[in-house]
């Protein structure tokens, strides 16, 4: 700890050497405002690297950006309602693959005391019911649905093996509440397609 440096001079309450200044050194000027946002530079930046690899990676980057937007992992925010309903919009929608990640479904926090004792068979039956209900909706919507079907099956297969009873019960509850035939057909004319519940965004219109 630096003691008093002399009469009338302030002493630091910490060791100035720890910050990198030697004792008695002139400290830099006090800065009164933030530095300019785009300061002039004396030296211009080096030109970018060019070459086959760099060009390929650039094209790849831009392609990937577009591809990602079309994948089922890109979750659209519900669009704001348009002032004028554009008829052509109905025919320009690109159908996305449906993606049900049963295998990697997040598990909800188990509420204390909410033990269950559902048997495995009951779970499986419920699951099959669920799939049948959803099955029709998904197939008619998918671009590459044979791929999707197999992916979903593999995930569902995982699900049966892995999920616990509590998760099954909660899954069924949540999904069934929003899985409502009424809602599906209500928006059939496309007016509010995708505008409301996200659950029904990629679902079928019959």
């Amino acid at each position: 700890m630096a003691g008093n440096k002399g009469r009338g001079r302030a002493a630091y309450t910490f060791n100035i050497e720890a910050v990198g200044f030697s004792k008695g050194e002139k400290l830099p000027d006090v800065v009164l405002k933030p530095p300019p946002l785009f300061p002039d530079t004396d030296y211009k930046p080096v030109p970018l690297k060019t070459g086959e690899g760099e060009e390929y990676m650039l094209a790849l980057k831009q392609e990937l950006r577009e591809t990602m937007k079309r994948m089922p992992y890109f979750i659209e925010t519900p669009e704001e309602r348009q002032d004028i309903e554009r008829y052509s919009k109905r025919y320009m929608k690109v159908y996305k693959e449906e993606w049900i990640p049963a295998g990697s479904k997040p598990k909800k926090a188990k509420d204390a005391g909410k033990g269950t004792s559902l048997t495995r068979t009951a779970d499986v039956l419920k699951k099959i019911e669920e799939l049948e209900k959803r099955g029709d909706g998904e197939k008619s919507d998918e671009e590459n649905e044979e791929k999707e079907g197999s992916k979903e099956k593999s995930k569902e297969g995982d699900d049966d093996d892995d999920d616990d009873a509590a998760e099954q019960e909660e899954y069924d509850e949540e999904e069934q509440e929003e899985e409502n035939d009424y809602i599906n057909s209500y928006f059939e004319d496309g007016d509010d397609f995708g505008a409301d519940s996200d659950d029904n965004m990629d679902e079928a219109t019959y």
Binding site: D42, Q62, F74, Y95, P106, K107, K147, K153, D199
Partner: protein, 513 residues
């Protein structure tokens, strides 16, 4: 430890730069909902589902969806805590790796050609996939690019997949452990995924028979945009999955090891000559699987072994090899070290030293480009002086604490600035694109019209008319936009290379403490 001192000295704005960049990346790749959840987890750390929903004001259903996407892509992990509460945690550094996807994919192309390239691309785009799913997707994609009537065999794709697994570029994901059915009591709320070291690169015995399929032309209009028409059903979605439950992912660490090796070989080639760099490349190749990615140096290799492993057709005599090895070991850069005399001489690659040199060279060039040659000279002299003092230390692998601290601090600061730069680049690119949104959409519409007209055999004059819908100044504007966007994108890729070098050094140094 003094690592904590470093953490305290760095401004809190450093984490802000990381968060900002993660936010931009998540938003570009997965949309705003996933971005909101992801960024929230990065900021707050581990949280359970309901707390996330509450804190972000998002519906439970949307949070679930977002978490699914993030978990699927290895960006978020989960853990069961006491009282059965499942908490989710984001991996910030893994999010930043999304910048590197083009580099991973292109590297695979150079090593395993188009087939390998698409395998890694599908794994990165989907996060995790079974081998059978990858093979099918890739076969279909390759078939699209082939001449009419030709198709890609599943077997060929499988072979490439196996090679990628053998060289560790792809690896199995942790999976649910098989428990005995006699296990009493309710199952846990979330599985704890595990993977055995020896299983990580084990390819399941599959006999994938088939060929890639082209997408039928009726599913697309002439411009290649899928019509808003329901695609026909196909029959093969009823087949059972042979490797159900065995998921694969790209092994990013292995790619990083490859990049590091590339950088070292390239540095040796620049500083010395082609032959020296080939010798170093051979040594690195021999150490690929036996040396961990954070090891300070490779396992010792004897001159005899190295001689035997030189690439076929590289005709240098044993004596010449020994001369080169001696020169390399004597070089002040100390990339190669001699660790013994048996077997004709035992040699190692000093990985940590090499990374330090590369990172330092990066810093030096940054100083030069930003502040001019005079400053760069001073910077180099200061570093050199420290290097000379260091030589007085006994063990060549040890760096005095003070110097290491300073180096680390410099690297971290520069890393922070690079991350900030990339965030700025992305924001600028998004801004430019938004400014020109109307024009871009118009241009895309015109292109689509022209393409469909060409497909139906329109006359030159008609096509000309449509093209003229875009005025000359508009064309100019589009050209400029394209040029700027390309420059910004290319800059992102290049700055990420700097980040890679700096972070490799930082990681290696941190692990040594």
């Amino acid at each position: 430890m003094w690592m904590d001192e470093i953490a305290l000295r760095l401004p809190s704005t450093m984490t802000q730069a990381e968060i900002k960049l993660c936010s931009l990346l998540l938003q570009e790749h997965f949309g705003e909902i996933v971005e909101k959840i992801g960024v929230h987890l990065i900021r707050t750390g581990s949280q359970p589902l309901r707390v996330i929903a509450h804190d972000t004001g998002t519906s439970l259903d949307q949070v679930k969806k977002a978490l699914c996407v993030l978990v699927q892509h290895n960006l978020v992990s989960y853990q069961v805590h006491k009282r059965g509460v499942v908490e989710y945690e984001a991996q910030c550094s893994r999010v930043l790796r999304m910048l590197r996807y083009p580099r991973y994919i292109y590297t695979t192309k150079t090593l395993y050609s188009d087939t390998g390239e698409l395998i890694v691309e599908e794994l990165l785009l989907n996060g995790k996939l079974t081998m059978s799913a990858v093979v099918k997707k890739v076969a279909d994609r390759l078939t699209e690019t082939m001449e009419d009537g030709k198709t890609m065999d599943y077997a060929e794709v499988s072979n490439t997949f196996v090679r990628l697994a053998d060289t560790h570029f792809v690896q199995r994901c942790p999976s649910v452990p098989t428990t005995e059915n006699s296990d009493p009591g309710p199952p846990p709320p979330a599985p704890t995924l595990v993977i055995n070291e020896k299983d990580m690169y084990l390819v399941p015995k599959l006999s994938l028979i088939g060929k890639g399929k082209r997408r039928r032309s009726s599913d697309e209009d002439a411009a290649g945009e899928p019509k808003a028409k329901r695609p026909k059903h196909t029959t093969d979605n009823k087949e059972p999955i042979p490797d159900d439950g065995i998921y694969w992912q790209a092994n990013l660490d292995r790619f990083h090891q490859h990049f590091r090796d590339q950088a070292i070989v390239s540095a040796v080639a620049n500083r010395m000559d082609q032959t020296s760099s080939e010798i170093v490349r051979t040594m690195l190749r021999m150490s690929e699987i036996t040396t961990s990615s954070s090891a300070p140096f490779t396992q010792p290799l004897s001159s005899n072994e190295i001689f035997r492993s030189l690439p076929v057709g590289y005709n240098i005599s044993k004596q010449v090899l020994d001369q080169y090895l001696t020169l390399l070991a004597d070089d002040p850069l100390e990339f190669v070290g001699k660790s013994g005399d048996s077997g004709g001489g035992m040699y190692v690659i000093n990985l940590h030293k090499a990374l330090a040199s590369l990172a330092t060279a990066t810093l030096e060039s940054v100083v030069q480009e930003r502040f001019g040659s005079r400053c760069a000279r001073i910077f180099r002299l200061v570093l050199q002086k420290k290097h000379i003092e260091q030589k007085q230390v006994e063990d060549f692998a040890m760096i005095p604490a003070k110097e290491a601290k300073d180096m680390l601090y410099k690297m971290l600061s520069e890393n922070f600035m690079s991350l900030q730069s990339i965030a700025n680049l992305i924001e600028r690119r998004q801004f430019e694109t938004k400014e020109n949104k109307r024009l871009l959409e118009k241009s895309q519409r015109v292109e689509a019209i022209i393409a469909s007209m060409q497909a139906t055999g329109a006359e030159e004059a008609q096509l000309q008319e449509i093209e003229e819908m875009i005025t000359a100044p508009e064309r100019q504007q589009l050209e400029t936009l394209k040029r700027n966007v390309n420059k910004l994108d290319a800059s992102e890729i290049q700055v990420d290379e700097t980040i890679f070098l700096l972070e490799s050094y930082i990681e290696c140094t941190m692990k040594r403490q």
